[in-house]
């Protein structure tokens, strides 16, 4: 497939997703109460920040053909450790934040070491750390300890507005720009795709595959730590079960955004649209007073439809190619 046609398909997926998003918005605007207000838009943005951050970090990972199931567990562990650093170790908030991000980088480093140095399958490694990180969070808090009473200056980050937008939105925006630059405007991004298409081929092309792969997992660890801090600030408390199930939403958003789970194809704008589509769905269903379970169900259905939609044209074209290659003469009527 030439570059132009390839770009066209990518564009088309994102255009369709954007159309779905607009349709969702109009639908809920019509049937829901107070859905399209500015306040609610801010609310949607506020609630999608953590999942959005995880999805942004997940995109380069899936681009390289990997996966990280442990991001949400790491979010829980980091939230707990942040509380520990602040309350029990008596650190000032900025120092606690720095230490938490350090822990996130270390935890991401554990994934990275096992995956890139020992060449273990990412699915299994992160399944193990999924259990390990959440288990450590439970063990540290003994399953019951909760950290609350954070200072107002910290809660501002999660609950207040700054210049009329939710205070955590600038961080999300910064992360989005960072990942967009990384994936679409640097050679790193190209190397992620190359690795996703073929790790061996990438190695022969002179790409330091192990280092690049390690990098995306460490980045995911750091971003999970940041998401943990924003999560804690939004809820005003840190518990061992923080962010349970977020990894599934993040993966769903990335795949919905047109990133191939096999690696090599995908984009950050697609991921952002995927996050938005899921967030709008959740908020809209709540505002339309429909049962909340519908949001999860529809997310699943949307995911299958998006996948089927992206493979059907490929299947048809490959069938056509096969027919052309076989040169079946047209049957006489």
């Amino acid at each position: 497939m030439d570059k132009h046609g390839f770009k066209k398909i990518l564009l088309r997926h994102e255009t369709i997703l954007f159309a779905v998003l607009v349709a969702e918005w109009i639908f809920f605007e019509v049937i829901g109460r107070n859905f399209g207000t500015y306040d609610n838009t801010c609310d949607i943005l506020r609630h999608s920040c953590e999942i959005g951050l995880l999805a942004l970090a997940m995109t380069p990972i899936i681009l390289t053909g990997g996966i990280d199931l442990s991001v949400a567990s790491l979010l829980g562990l980091c939230a707990i450790l942040f509380g520990k650093f602040w309350r029990d170790a008596g650190m000032p908030i900025p120092l606690a934040v720095a230490c938490t991000i350090g822990v996130g980088a270390l935890a991401g480093g554990l994934n990275a070491t096992l995956i890139s140095w020992l060449r273990l399958p990412p699915l299994i490694v992160t399944l193990g750390t999924f259990s390990l990180f959440r288990g450590l969070a439970e063990a540290i808090t003994r399953g019951v300890d909760t950290f609350t009473n954070f200072p107002d200056s910290f809660l501002f980050l999660g609950q207040d507005r700054w210049l009329g937008i939710p205070a955590q939105a600038p961080f999300f925006l910064a992360a989005a720009i960072f990942f967009w630059l990384l994936v679409h405007r640097t050679t790193f991004g190209r190397s992620f795709r190359a690795i996703g298409f073929s790790p061996e081929g990438a190695r022969y092309a002179g790409i330091p595959v192990a280092r690049r792969v390690a990098m995306v997992y460490v980045l995911a660890g750091i971003v999970s730590a940041i998401a943990a801090i924003i999560y804690t600030a939004r809820l005003g408390q840190a518990k061992a079960d923080a962010g349970t199930g977020y990894e599934l939403f993040a993966i769903t958003a990335v795949v919905l955004g047109g990133t191939s789970i096999f690696g090599g194809v995908g984009s950050i704008p697609g991921t952002l649209l995927g996050v938005a589509a899921i967030a709008v769905l959740h908020s809209g269903i709540a505002h339309a007073l429909l049962p909340g379970e519908m949001a999860g169900m529809l997310t699943g259905v949307l995911l299958i439809l998006a996948l089927a939609g992206s493979t059907l044209p490929k299947m048809i074209s490959s069938l056509r190619a096969r027919k052309a290659a076989l040169k079946i003469p047209p049957q006489a009527a």
Binding site: L127, S131, L132, G135, T252, M297, M315
Partner: protein
């Protein structure tokens, strides 16, 4: 030794754990609690056997937990309507089979990646169940628990059924052609196709079989208690995948035995009761489970890395 390194190392780890228990906490080896433990884990073993087949076929199914929950609740509702138990069993297995066929059709028919398909069905079934049932527990009528048998007999029945399935499947995988086809498709689908196996049919079949086993396991779970928990099966997918991987099945397909899976499951199942007996706080259970999975794969990684250079 080399060929079955993973199986042996899982067995060795299990042996060490049991030895430690024998020395430091002999109270672990009482027949009644052990039987209860075995009964609790019997449905998991059945699901783990199915999961092993799916993973050997180079696919994965993370929707089993949700399928399990839906099947359990359906079984409970049918039993509460005083259907004969044999019919309830058959219907539950049929429901599971349908779920499996749905996954199989999407994966094998449309060629979609199994991890994403089953991720989607996992969320959809679980949320659908919550929506329809609103988290209500199903009360079972008298005579359903343990099939109306005395508890001891019922427990032994479940354990023996699970073991029988394990043995049958292990023999099938090793000695019967359709079992070898699963390995063939898992190690190289294209080579298998050229050898006259239909990879898509095999993949579809493995998912269908997984669904049927999940339905059976759900029934085995339902009759253990007087009520059905609508949240049963949460985390079952991770538990079974962990057991399969610790037991030495390669996630990249084409390699592994059910004996290994059995050892892996025993190891993981013994950890949390062992913690209680060794006076370690139970909160550590999940972390230790994660560490066990990592250790199992790291041991393998270090070994194969040495071989490579």
């Amino acid at each position: 030794m080399n060929k079955y390194f993973r199986e042996f190392s899982a067995a060795a780890a299990l042996g060490i754990l049991l030895l430690a228990l024998a020395i430091f906490a002999p109270s672990f080896f009482q027949p009644q609690p052990l039987l209860s433990l075995a009964t609790r884990e019997a449905p998991t073993l059945v699901v783990a056997c199915g999961m092993a087949l799916v993973i050997i076929c180079r696919q994965i199914d993370i929707s089993v937990g949700s399928q399990f929950a839906v099947c359990s609740v359906c079984a409970g509702l049918l039993a509460a309507m005083h259907w004969p138990l044999a019919l309830v069993l058959a219907t539950t297995i049929l429901i599971g089979t349908t779920f499996g066929a749905f996954n199989g059709a999407l994966v094998a028919g449309l060629g979609l990646p199994s991890i994403v398909v089953t991720l989607a069905t996992m969320v959809t079934w679980r949320e659908g169940l919550r929506w329809l049932r609103q988290g209500v527990w199903v009360d079972l009528p008298n005579g359903v628990q343990w099939f109306g048998l005395p508890q001891m007999t019922g427990q032994w029945t479940l354990v023996l059924v699970a073991l029988a399935i394990l043995i049958l499947l292990a023999l099938t995988l090793k000695h019967i052609s359709i079992g070898r086809f699963v390995y063939a498709v898992g190690s190289d689908a294209e080579a298998a196709r050229l050898a006259g196996i239909r990879p898509r049919m095999m993949t579809f079949g493995v998912f269908v079989f997984m669904g049927a086993l999940t339905g059976l396991a759900a029934m085995m779970n339902t009759i253990q208690s007087p009520q059905v928990d609508p949240n049963s099966g949460t985390g079952l997918e991770l538990k079974t995948i962990a057991a399969v991987v610790v037991g030495g099945v390669a996630i990249s397909g084409g390699r592994g035995t059910l004996w290994g899976v059995f050892t892996g499951l025993l190891l993981l199942a013994c950890i949390s009761p062992a913690l209680t007996h060794l006076h370690v706080e139970a909160f550590w259970g999940k972390a230790i489970q994660g560490a066990t999975i990592l250790l199992a794969v790291v041991a393998d990684g270090v070994r194969t890395r040495k071989q490579r250079y």
